[in-house]
């Protein structure tokens, strides 16, 4: 579990409670794969060096071809390794005292950022599965929210139990600060779909249903 004090685009008065990456085991697994892939050109180099005379004459065509191939392999290997590390490292879940931010770096050109106000959290579930998960203590935390996003899943994070507990503690704090009445009012606002004005303090524009549509039902 990694705690960092700041991140870009923080709201005024916002404080980072948790900043989570996937467990180090996931990074080690990626690294092992790339170490295995690095052995391929080394084996090819040794095999060609001992079984052929291609490296004897450094001016030959065969030498030039093989050197270029090995160089291309090394460059592509390095880039893929770096991009895999990037995909691992830029997958971040940030829990602040106000919201949950889910940043998913799926590929080099595919990045998804979604966030949800903490008071919208309805349910927190954590799970640890498998032998390795139990041994190394990593697993998933699923946070069910009332927004469009529906639920956030923190995958393969270290100590999911502590993370779930931290989220529940934050929720309790928010409930204590706001009081039950305000929370109930916010539940009503969630159904209307415009809760941001309540947290930012800006005046909320009146909701105008489209012509011919039934007015939204408000449940308190």
């Amino acid at each position: 579990m990694k705690i960092q004090p700041t991140f870009p685009n923080m709201l005024p008065g916002e404080r980072v409670v948790l900043m989570l990456h996937r467990h180090g085991f996931v990074a080690v697994r990626i690294a092992l794969l790339y170490i295995l892939l690095a052995l391929v050109p080394v084996a090819a180099w040794l095999l060609l060096g001992t079984r052929t005379e291609v490296f004897v004459d450094v001016t030959s065509t065969g030498y030039a071809l093989i050197t270029l191939l090995l160089s291309a392999y090394a460059l592509v290997w390095g880039l893929l390794f770096f991009v895999s590390w990037l995909n691992y490292y830029l997958d971040v879940w940030i829990i602040t005292n106000e919201r949950i931010i889910n940043i998913t770096q799926q590929r080099l050109f595919h990045r998804i950022v979604s966030e949800q106000k903490l008071y919208r959290v309805q349910d927190v579930t954590w799970q640890i599965e498998g032998v390795l998960g139990n041994l190394l203590k990593f697993g998933n935390v699923t946070i069910q929210t009332a927004g469009e996003q529906g639920k956030f899943t923190f995958e393969h994070i270290p100590d999911p139990e502590a993370v779930a507990k931290a989220v529940m503690n934050l929720l309790e704090q928010i409930e204590n600060q706001m009081g039950a009445n305000t929370m109930a009012k916010m539940d009503g606002d969630l159904l209307e779909g415009s809760p941001t004005a309540k947290t930012t303090g800006k005046p909320e524009p009146p909701l105008t249903p489209p012509a011919g549509a039934a007015p939204p039902s408000i449940k308190l």
Partner: protein, 91 residues
Amino acid sequence: MTLSLWFILIPFGLLLVVWLVLSIVAIVKMLRFGFVSRPAVISSFGFVIFAVGVLVATTISLKEVDWTASVEIGTPSVNLPSVNISNPLSR
């Protein structure tokens, strides 16, 4: 059919251009979205060092190659290991 040896540098050059663009994108993304943290900076720096090392090693290794020499297409120029296969019918 004969070709000049420097022709094989064309696909390598194209690969290098694509590789360079993707590398720059990856480094920029890492530094921009990695919150300029120590692992992000160290890994970016490590990648640059590795890439420069590979390119320098390649340049040094290929320094003595005669790129004006022509290559015969269709005939292998690499000395493959000799394989001794005895004809089982001759036993």
